[in-house]
């Protein structure tokens, strides 16, 4: 049982080493520039899976003896700093929640890195790209495995930095540079919440550690999520303080996970390469917010109302983003809004702060990582074929040109739509179920939960419709290609299709393999932070919900097929009607959130900046200049004596001599 120590160290360390090697000798590797990072990620993936296996084995042997507060292992690597004699240690943890995140992150990173070798085959900046990918994998694995809020914050910023660097990978493109800046600033705005939250955590708990500090088996310092605290009857006192901390964390999670109103950076982040969108902006980094809330679930459970706020924000994001995705014409933007929408589902689920809610949210996180990465990578194939044209209106009928991609995108789309028996079905239905269970408890909060549930349910229809729309418009209908596609090859190389195949089989299989067997829920429930939550009686609304859900999804897909498979007059009539109602413009304009931000935040800030610029120029700089100029003017007076006439110098000499003599006298 000591293997886990090397495993939890290897998982983050390998990508870091790969990244450093790539940064140092990447230029010499030529065609094989991706090799160090890919090898490192293969190692990380194997280590993650080994960690899960190891953990399952350990749980099986342990469950007989110990109490049921779950499974965790803490590896204290060292001490970082000490504040008021309270040390802040560098500790890695191994528990089911971390293990799930590690597995998803390392697997998707590996597949995306392999795909990138094909996608960026001729790009001159590849060493930089792979170094950043390795750095990102390191930061993300550290983010989910550290056992300390301060280190979590540190790596929270690291992944933000990696996101910035990779969005701006094509930094020569002004739009990419602007998108990178926007993403960084917007997420920083959110991160401010986490920072303030950290202060409050320090005030409230006096530590940043999740775990208890043990000396010779006795607890010397209670961690925030330490076993000793979690096993107490009422672990968190001072509810309003806990609520404030939770709300600040929610704010941070909204920034990172692109929830309304801090979602504006994610659609723009699509300026980065497609594999980056797949890895960072769909599968891993944007789920950090969900992970944070899932990790802090006991706090949210103690606060009560904070979870409701999370769910409401999730519902707004899920609904708004799905509606915006209906009319966007940029292929990757549709997928970006879809990501926001799906993250909204996860927020609703973890906002429940119950064991079933968090488990369903985390499972949706896992399945979403796979099918959304699949969709983004398939979209990358389409972009390669069309010569990097994104506009859905300019291409169509690609099913003969890209047969493999057509199948893969279809599987991903069905996974996203949540059709039985693909992954999305197995992860979305439990969320709906958990929401309806909470809504049925009644009360004033129950009404809000009911609205969330209804919106989530309706949006499954919209989700199925918009993703089917993209699929049909891209791959079916009359063949159409933009002029930019002249030089492209018919189907992408193997490095780009094999990862797609792996992701597609994952999309088909993981739902069936992990959910109906209950394996995932049982495994995740062993996390101490989730095991402490009050147990709920299993709620099952019956087969009706699942049947109706499937019917709704099918209806969405069929409606899209009816409208988009071949030119349809009804479509024109519908869109005309929507245009006249103004709904179309509202969706096309993304509910004008960007404009709202500009009017409320950016515009006033620019005005303040202009004022302070004026003040700096006219007052601060001017006074400094004037002091300098005064010295010059004084010097100018003395310069007049250097008038260049030799006789004058002789006279001055004599006058000086006389003056000197008089002084001496």
């Amino acid at each position: 049982m000591s293997e886990w120590i090397s495993l939890v160290i290897l998982i983050p360390a390998l990508p870091l080493v790969g990244s450093i090697v790539t940064a140092l000798v990447g230029r010499r590797l030529g065609e094989r520039v991706g090799l160090p990072v890919i090898v490192a990620l293969v190692g990380s993936s194997c280590a993650s899976i080994a960690l899960v296996v190891e953990m399952v084995r350990a749980m099986a042997t342990e469950s007989a003896g110990e109490s049921s507060l779950g499974f965790e292992r803490i590896l204290t690597v060292g001490s970082w700093i000490a504040v008021d004699a309270r040390p802040i240690g560098v500790a890695l943890r191994a528990d089911p929640l971390t293990a799930v995140m590690l597995t998803v992150v390392s697997l998707v990173s590996l597949l995306v890195a392999i795909y990138s070798t094909g996608y960026l085959r001729d790009d001159p900046g590849r060493p930089r790209y792979f170094a950043f990918i390795g750095l990102f994998a390191f930061s993300m694995t550290m983010l989910v495995s550290v056992s300390n809020f301060l280190l979590l914050y540190l790596f929270w910023e690291w992944v933000g930095l990696c996101s910035y660097l990779l969005i701006g990978y094509w930094y020569q493109k002004p739009s990419a540079a602007a998108a990178a800046k926007k993403a960084f600033l917007t997420t920083r705005l959110g991160d401010l919440g986490l920072l303030i939250g950290l202060f409050l955590i320090w005030m409230q708990f006096g530590t940043f550690d999740f775990h208890d500090t043990l000396v010779e088996g006795k607890v010397v310092a209670q961690g925030i999520f330490g076993l000793s605290r979690l096993s107490a009857a009422a672990p968190y006192a001072g509810t309003w303080m806990v609520t404030t901390i939770c709300l600040l964390m929610t704010w941070a999670a909204m920034g990172k996970s692109a929830q309304f109103p801090l979602h504006v950076w994610l659609p723009d982040a699509m300026e980065g390469p497609s594999p980056v969108s797949a890895l960072i902006h769909a599968a891993t980094m944007v789920t950090a917010g969900v992970y944070l809330i899932a990790r802090s679930a006991p706090l949210f459970a103690a606060s009560g109302s904070a979870g409701l706020v999370v769910a409401v924000i999730g519902a707004i994001s899920a609904t708004g983003a799905a509606l915006v995705a209906l009319t966007q014409t940029d292929m990757k933007r549709v997928l970006a809004y879809s990501t926001i929408s799906q993250l909204g589902y996860m927020f609703m689920a973890v906002g429940l702060a119950s064991s079933t809610g968090v488990a369903s949210g985390m499972f949706h996180l896992v399945t979403h990582a796979f099918f959304k990465a699949l969709l983004f990578l398939a979209a990358g194939n389409v972009l390669v074929a069309t010569g990097h044209v994104l506009d859905l209106r300019r291409f169509g009928g690609l099913r003969h040109r890209l047969p493999a991609t057509c199948v893969m995108f279809g599987i991903g789309a069905l996974g996203l739509a949540g059709l039985f028996p693909l992954a999305g079905f197995w992860s979305k239905e439990p969320i709906l179920m958990a929401l309806s269970a909470r809504a049925s408890q009644g009360g004033p909060e129950g009404a809000v939960w009911l609205v969330c549930y209804l919106l989530a349910f309706l949006m499954t229809f919209v989700t199925a419709f918009y993703i089917a729309r993209v699929y049909f418009v891209t791959f079916f209908g009359p063949y159409r290609m933009p002029d930019e596609s002249k030089a492209t090859k018919p189907e992408s190389c193997r490095a780009m299709t094999v990862p797609l195949g792996v992701l597609a089989s994952a999309t088909v299989l993981i739902g069936v393999a992990l959910k109906p067997t209950g394996w995932f829920d049982r495994f995740l429930a062993q996390t101490p932070t989730l095991a402490c939550l009050a147990p709920e009686e299993p709620f099952h609304a019956g087969l009706m919900v699942e049947l109706v859900g499937t019917a709704v999804v099918l209806a969405g897909i069929l409606l899209a097929a009816f409208l988009y498979l071949r030119p349809n007059r009804l479509l024109d009539v519908l869109s005309q009607m929507m245009r006249r109602l103004g709904l179309y413009q509202l969706s096309q304009g993304k509910f004008f959130v960007d404009e709202l931000f500009y009017a409320l935040v950016v515009g006033p800030l620019l005005r303040v900046a202009a004022w302070s610029g004026w003040f700096d120029d006219r007052v601060v700089d001017r006074s400094a200049d004037e002091v300098g100029r005064a010295a010059g003017r004084l010097g100018g007076l003395l310069r007049l004596t250097q008038n260049g006439v030799v006789s004058f110098y002789a006279l001055a000499m004599m006058v000086g001599l006389v003056a000197l003599l008089m002084v001496i006298w």
Binding site: R639, L640, Q642, N643, G644, V645, V646, S647, F648, A650, L651, M654
Partner: protein, 148 residues
């Protein structure tokens, strides 16, 4: 007055006169060599003064100092005359007033540059000697006076 003090006074008087003449010459003349001579004269004035003081104190120090200063004056003469020679080569004249543009470019000119003015001598009807070999012009005889 004590005789030795009187003697000292005379020495100092002569030294001060020499020095004063040197100063006046230094300030009022334009020829660089004359200027140089004026400086030498000031030096000699100082030397005389030193001799007087040495004598007054019954001490050789003053005269030793003069020997040193003569050495320095020799060096000064070597450097100074070489400098004057170079200046003369540059402008073709020893006139110090020609060197009045040594200031920085952006300062105004403090004195007129003689080289820029018309150097032609003013027209004055000086009396002239008659041209050799010719008879001087004489007035007609009928205008001669009767008596001289």
């Amino acid at each position: 007055m004590n005789p030795s003090v009187e003697l000292l006074f005379h020495y100092q008087l002569v030294g001060a006169l020499l020095f004063g003449i040197g100063v006046v010459g230094f300030l009022s003349r334009r020829n660089q060599i004359v200027l140089f001579l004026s400086v030498e004269m000031m030096l000699q004035g100082a030397a005389v003064s030193l001799v007087g003081w040495g004598r007054y104190h019954q001490d050789w120090g003053g005269q030793v100092l003069i020997l040193v200063s003569i050495t320095i004056a020799a060096c000064e003469a070597a450097v100074g005359l070489a400098l004057i020679l170079m200046l003369e080569h540059r402008r073709g004249s020893l006139d110090l007033a020609l060197w009045c543009r040594l200031h920085e470019d952006d300062l105004p000119d403090a004195a007129p540059d003689p080289s820029e003015e018309d150097l032609a001598p003013p027209e004055i009807d000086w009396p002239r000697l008659p041209t050799a070999g010719l008879l001087p012009e004489t007035p007609p005889e009928d205008e001669y006076r009767d008596h001289v």
